[in-house]
């Protein structure tokens, strides 16, 4: 049953991912049931926690913002035929870039100038951190999967070194920098809506959410509406054919990795400029890996990624609420579900396809006898 199966387009794009998602949810339900809880109650509380209040929605959107960035990062690399597992490290470096600019900025600098500079720095640092594995893949043939994993660990060691030794606020006990100046704070959505006279509870949701929407649209335009994106996808689809067609694979590998790293670097803006207002150690907390799940569920398309990021944002927010509501329930259930989703939608994506094809075959009217010889 391991031969690839042809499915009708709507089944391939909509039904198969939903079936895979359903299997991941079903296994999660079994786990929830096995620890003595009612899966239906848990699901209800989760949805309520994620969407039941303005504050819940704010948190959901805030988590989703980060996941849009990391999900898009995985997707762009994937379209270039590369698996970038280094979102985690690239996001850390993005945060470093954003933090360095914020801390080095002179006091007179207005927010209108400082914030764009921080965004550029976050993208630049993330891009640079992805460019090295990209270049090693393009010119030295070192497998990008392995090198990006290694670069995650190197990034985390580098950040720890800088925060413990060089950047730590003098006299502070915790491993973090001095607070960013006021001008480096990205306004929260509650502040903006408050200025417009709309009451909105204080949540970590900040202007980065618009940046995430812009990034999704930008990635769509790049990949499907530009020559560069066409060439990128051509290399991802068939490097040899693209090369024969006049596309330089090396340049495309670099382009894919640099854009991917820049997108991952934007996590730093949402988490540091938007919420923490200082540089600290563990602000990425696995969102680089969540990006893999988001990209897989979203079928590597910006629209799908935005929807999948919302799903994961809701899961993380709902999961956090759940661990308050139900003692003995860990929000790590969401990590488990995330892993199961990667398993069923990624590694075992085609396992359900033969069964679906069979069902589809039953539903189709049988072709008239002899037509096959036509």
């Amino acid at each position: 049953m391991s031969q690839p199966v042809e499915l009708p387009r709507w089944m391939d794009i909509i039904l198969l991912p939903l079936v895979n998602l359903g299997m991941a949810l079903a296994v999660s339900a079994v786990v929830v049931w096995a620890i003595g809880l009612n899966p239906a109650d848990v699901l209800l509380l989760l949805v309520k926690g994620a969407f039941g209040s303005q504050s819940g929605i704010g948190y959901t959107l805030y988590y989703a913002t980060t996941f849009v960035f990391t999900g898009l990062a995985v997707a762009v690399a994937f379209h270039g035929g590369l698996f970038n597992i280094g979102g985690e490290g690239q996001a850390m470096m993005g945060g470093l870039g954003c933090g360095l600019v914020a801390l080095a900025a002179p006091a007179w600098m207005p927010a209108a100038l400082l914030l764009p500079l921080m965004v550029l720095a976050a993208m630049g640092f993330g891009a640079a951190w992805a460019a090295v594995p990209g270049a090693l893949q393009a010119w030295r043939g070192s497998h990008v999967v392995i090198t990006t994993i290694m670069f995650n660990f190197i990034a985390s060691a580098l950040l720890a070194y800088l925060l413990v030794g060089v950047l730590k606020a003098p006299g502070s006990m915790s491993v973090e920098t001095a607070p960013f100046p006021e001008a480096a704070h990205l306004p929260g959505v509650h502040q903006l809506l408050g200025a417009l006279g709309i009451a909105w509870p204080r949540t970590p949701l900040n202007l980065s959410v618009l940046l995430a929407v812009a990034a999704a649209i930008g990635v769509y335009l790049l990949l499907w509406r530009s020559r560069a994106g066409y060439e990128l996808r051509a290399v991802g689809f068939s490097p040899d054919a693209a090369h024969y067609g006049g596309v330089r694979p090396r340049g495309q590998i670099m382009l894919a990795m640099v854009i991917s790293g820049a997108l991952a670097g934007l996590v730093g803006i949402n988490e540091l400029a938007g919420v923490q207002h200082r540089l600290l150690l563990d602000f990425v907390v696995g969102s680089g890996f969540t990006g893999i799940a988001v990209s897989l569920i979203g079928r590597n398309h910006p629209l799908g990624i935005v929807l999948a990021a919302l799903l994961f944002g809701a899961l993380f927010q709902g999961g956090a609420e759940l661990s308050f509501e139900i003692p003995g329930f860990s929000r790590d259930m969401v990590t488990t579900l995330q892993g199961l989703i990667v398993l069923f939608s990624g590694a075992m994506a085609q396992v359900a396809a033969p069964a679906l094809a069979k069902v589809h075959g039953w539903l189709q009217p049988a072709p008239p006898a002899g037509a096959a010889h036509g």
Partner: protein, 325 residues
């Protein structure tokens, strides 16, 4: 340097290296058969949890070990089902296993033991006891032998010696037996193995089963020897470091052993140098411990880039084999 210091460094190097060696051997076996294993971290973590949970629940060392081995093999079979039977993406599967293990171990740990994800501390009866400590005690006071051999090489638990013994074992199996030849051929040219009338799937499943056993041993080492209980995320990237060591050792069991010992040594040195001042020649200040900790990864990248020797992966690594007519 005195003997005791060398002995101490040697001992901590061996202690840190053991799970790396076991995992790196696991990776050698699966990758030589053509299956990428990025799931080492997850297999080791969930096996460690199984050992901790079973040990705490039953108070039996054999049962704890058995549970760890069973979980390791079970995850490897999922690996095989997705990647060997159903040609799934091997990299994606490895990520999935690691995420599932990280989440599931905490969810079950909190639900069962209510200690924030940890398992209760295991009684001494469930822990691995040091071997040869009697000889080590007798050697105490003897110059050289007492410090280096007694303090460094003797007095470890059975898994340390088993890991070291498994290195020549795996080497012999891979390079001196018929099945080892077939396994290596599966990783280089599965079509040829198929044409010779052998089962590519069977060989890969076999390699993965052995891989699961080794990861199970590595996980149980963490709980039954190094720590006294399971702690969330206790593998702390060791699976990836073992993968790096395997690549650094050029997909060869003996090479992997040296790489694991080197990485383990760096770790032992880094822990010792915490807070130690650099000599004035190098500018003073604290030794950048993080730099030493990052060194294994940097070295692996440099090696992969082909700047120090060449590390070549098996030719068919990562490509699922489709039997076509």
């Amino acid at each position: 340097m005195d003997d005791a210091l060398i002995g101490g460094l040697l001992a901590s190097t061996l202690r840190v290296s053991t799970p790396l060696i076991l995992c790196a051997l696991a990776a050698v076996l699966s990758e030589r058969s053509g299956v990428i294993d990025l799931g080492l971290e997850g297999k080791m973590l969930l096996a460690a949890f199984a050992a901790g949970a079973t040990g705490a629940a039953t108070g039996s060392l054999p049962l704890a070990l058995l549970a760890a081995l069973a979980v390791g093999v079970a995850l490897s079979m999922v690996h095989g089902y997705a990647c060997v039977s159903h040609t799934g993406d091997q990299v994606v599967l490895g990520m999935a296993l690691s995420m599932i293990a990280a989440g599931l171990s905490i969810v079950l740990g909190i639900a069962w033991f209510k200690q924030g994800g940890q398992t209760p501390a295991l009684p001494d009866a469930v822990r691995l006891t040091p071997w040869f400590s009697g000889i080590a005690a007798q050697l105490q006071g003897v110059p050289v032998l007492g410090g280096i051999v007694g303090g460094g090489l003797l007095g470890h638990n059975a898994l340390v010696y088993l890991a070291l013994a498994l290195v020549p074992g795996v080497w012999w199996g891979l390079y001196r037996t018929r099945i080892g030849l077939r396994l290596r051929a599966t990783g280089e040219n599965p079509a040829m193995v198929d044409a010779a009338g052998l089962s590519v799937k069977g060989l890969r499943y076999g390699a993965l089963a052995a891989n699961g056993l080794l990861c199970g041993l590595a996980g149980s080492y963490l709980v039954l020897a190094q720590n006294a209980n399971f702690v969330p995320h206790m593998t702390a990237g060791r699976g990836y470091m073992a993968l790096a060591a395997m690549i650094f050792g050029k997909w060869h069991p003996v090479g992997a052993l040296w790489a694991c010992l080197l990485f383990g040594f760096l770790d032992a040195v880094a822990i010792r140098l915490q807070g130690v001042a650099l000599p004035a020649v190098l500018g003073g200040g604290d030794v950048p411990v993080q730099a030493i900790q990052a060194l294994p990864y940097v070295m692996t990248v440099v090696l992969l880039a082909g700047f120090i020797g060449k590390s070549r992966a098996p030719a068919a690594l990562g490509t699922p084999y489709l039997k076509t007519r």
